[in-house]
């Protein structure tokens, strides 16, 4: 049964409009307990959730997310299995998928866009599909109202930044550092810088991801950004067998740190 998905940008603007900061947790799809973890994160104050669809060669991901990917792939869980499983989730906040372009390409662009809408998923993040190559996918996605969230990196020139901020839908995903996903001891200086640079070009929500792993880091980066994406720190809890409840507790801790500011 297809329903009209909640829009990501709408959900984030609601939070921002109320003076708050946005929180988008990332959870690896197909991993044991991930559906419960999605519910737990939603209840703990997430504004949208990013569901990873595992790919065999995830070049933007560090060891934590790679490991979770490998666990899911070893169980022969397919992208379609994940999309079907999350089809009937009723969590009251929008969902996005994060995967790599070959998964989409192999699925077929239109077919993938249709599968997303049928599963009630509003957005897609494809880290190896930069602006220059995104045209065909964006056309297929837009036809269904799917929001393609583009990534901005510390190395992105102002000229490109302006273009990709203009074309990104849902929010602008500002990559917080030069590197791949994973928890770092301290927030990189570049995280605040890229957030500020993006905000100079757009009034869309700007969320920082990559290298945000603690409530303190989330709070610090959100002094400039409209919020953040937290991935590896959450996935690590699932890998450690701490279960979906621990995801809820952790997301709640970040939520309250963000609400303090």
């Amino acid at each position: 049964m297809s329903k009209s998905p909640l829009r990501i940008e709408e959900s984030l603007r609601k939070r921002i409009g109320g003076g708050g900061k946005c929180l988008v947790p990332y959870i690896t799809g197909g991993f044991e307990g991930y559906v419960e973890a999605i519910y737990a994160a939603a209840e703990a104050g997430a504004d949208a959730i990013e569901i990873g669809i595992p790919f065999s060669d995830p070049v933007m991901d560090g060891p934590t997310i790679q490991k979770a990917n490998d666990v899911v792939l070893a169980q022969k869980i397919s992208p379609l299995d994940i999309l079907q499983e999350i089809r009937d989730l009723d969590i009251g906040i929008p969902l996005a998928v994060m995967t790599y372009y070959n998964i989409v390409y192999r699925f077929g662009l239109e077919r993938f866009a249709n599968a997303l809408s049928e599963s009630g998923i509003s957005g897609a993040i494809l880290p190896d599909l930069p602006l220059n190559e995104a045209g065909a996918w964006v056309d297929a996605a837009s036809a269904n109202g799917t929001e393609t969230i583009l990534l901005a990196a510390p190395t992105t020139t102002d000229e490109r930044l302006e273009a990709l901020c203009g074309q990104s839908k849902g929010f602008v995903y500002a990559v917080g550092l030069l590197g791949i996903t994973g928890v770092r001891a301290e927030l990189a200086r570049s995280a605040v810088v890229i957030a500020g640079r993006c905000k100079a070009f757009t009034d869309k929500p700007v969320l920082v991801g990559v290298g945000i792993g603690t409530p303190e880091q989330a709070k610090e980066v959100s002094e400039v950004a409209d919020g953040c994406i937290v991935g590896s720190a959450i996935v690590q809890k699932l890998l450690d067998g701490e279960g979906p409840e621990s995801v809820g507790t952790f997301v709640a801790a970040i939520r309250s740190a963000l609400d303090e500011s």
Binding site: V59, P79, Y101, N102, I103, R106, N132, T155, L164, V175
Partner: protein, 382 residues
């Protein structure tokens, strides 16, 4: 051979499918290469290195006993005689020189058999740059000698322990490194693959193989060979030699390992920066290639090969590991040349196709020498 379109396509293949972080670096590399490649002083500097350091031109050897054995005339382009033992040095000297001019201080590379890693470590030593080479855990075991050579040359060799633990995973690790170090590091990619401009740039750096071979054939035969063949993993040595003959009537034949035959078993897909033929499952998960030769253990193929296959300008054949082992011994015994396992693939096809090739003249790009494979073959053959 034609240059790619402005969006880095050969026909419908190629492109620049990399994280945003790397886009400015790919664009800067393209600009630097475009400028350098038409700059006479850059070309002179590179040619001097290729001649005085790498030992170019490499000879063309006419094989008397092998020709007799196979029943047709065989010529070898001797890339095995280059410094570091393979064709890889051509590309590496070009990229290292370019990286130096771009102000980069560190080279990052992936390697399968270790030949590209050794070549990159060599160039880094020559230019006084630091060097990190990613190599699959499985390949580190089967190519211990090359690991030692890289370390001796001052490079750091890092084991890629994810996925199939071979070349594909070494490339993932090298790209992850580059995402984090792009400001001072150059990714010295070792084949005609990856994001634009690599497939084009690497082919151009290997074009010297085809240029020399064309002139040498004119001198030796007074005409073009009928068939030009080379092994194909990513496909750099093949494009190097094909580039000299693509405008002739010579038939171009690329030979893949049966366990890594992207053209036969592959479908279009995107990995490591470009759209090309790729061995993948129905969901787009990349499959693990399997081959006796670490250098061809790759589930994809360079995008220009996909294009040449599509338009029918080149054809692609596949051979089994056991045919390769036979060919490895055949060349050793008939010509006193121990080939690397990679070019032994092309020779294996030549041996199988001897009836088809009867009466023809065949030019084989002998892309590397077999020293690195001696231990593995010693265990296999006793």
């Amino acid at each position: 051979m034609t240059d790619p379109s402005s969006d880095g396509r050969f026909g419908s293949f190629g492109g620049m499918f990399v994280p945003e972080t790397l886009i400015p670096a790919c664009e800067a590399l393209e600009d630097a290469f475009r400028t350098a490649w038409v700059d006479i002083s850059f070309r002179e500097e590179l040619n001097t290195l290729l001649a005085d350091y790498a030992g170019r031109p490499s000879p063309l050897t006419q094989c008397e006993r092998l020709s007799e054995e196979l029943g047709y005339q065989v010529l070898l382009k001797r890339e095995d005689l280059n410094h570091t033992g393979s064709h890889k040095i051509n590309n590496v000297l070009g990229q290292a020189l370019l990286a130096k001019k771009m102000g980069k201080k560190r080279l990052v590379a992936e390697t399968g058999a270790g030949q590209h890693g050794v070549a990159t470590a060599t160039a880094a030593a020559l230019f006084g740059m630091s060097c990190v080479v990613y190599m699959g855990e499985v390949d580190i075991e089967r190519q211990a000698l090359n690991v030692f050579r890289m370390r001796l040359l001052g490079a750091e060799v890092i084991s890629a322990t994810s996925g199939s633990k071979t070349l594909k995973d070494a490339i993932n690790e090298a790209m992850r490194d580059w995402v984090a170090t792009v400001e001072d590091s150059h990714y010295c990619l070792g084949s005609v693959m990856g994001p634009h401009p690599y497939p084009w740039m690497v082919r151009e750096f290997h074009r010297v193989i085809g240029q020399e071979a064309y002139e040498q054939c004119q001198k030796a035969l007074g005409r073009d060979p009928d068939v030009v063949t080379a092994c194909v993993g990513g496909g750099s040595n093949a494009l190097g030699i094909f580039s000299g003959f693509v405008d002739t009537d010579a038939e171009l034949v690329g030979v893949e390992p049966a366990g890594g035959a992207a053209v036969f078993r592959g479908t279009p897909g995107v990995v490591h920066g470009s759209l090309s033929y790729l061995m993948q499952d129905e969901w787009g998960q990349v499959l693990e290639a399997e081959s006796i030769s670490a250098g061809l253990d790759y589930p994809g193929i360079g995008p220009e090969h996909a294009h040449l296959a599509d338009i029918g300008r080149a054809r692609y054949e596949k051979v089994s590991d056991s045919e390769v082992v036979d060919a490895f011994q055949l060349l050793s015994r008939t010509e006193g040349i121990i080939p690397a396992l990679e070019p032994a693939h092309a020779l294996a096809w030549m041996s199988r196709a001897r009836r088809e090739l009867s009466g023809k003249t065949v030019l084989l790009n002998l892309s590397g020498r077999g020293d690195k494979d001696a231990t593995q073959m010693m265990e296999l053959l006793g």
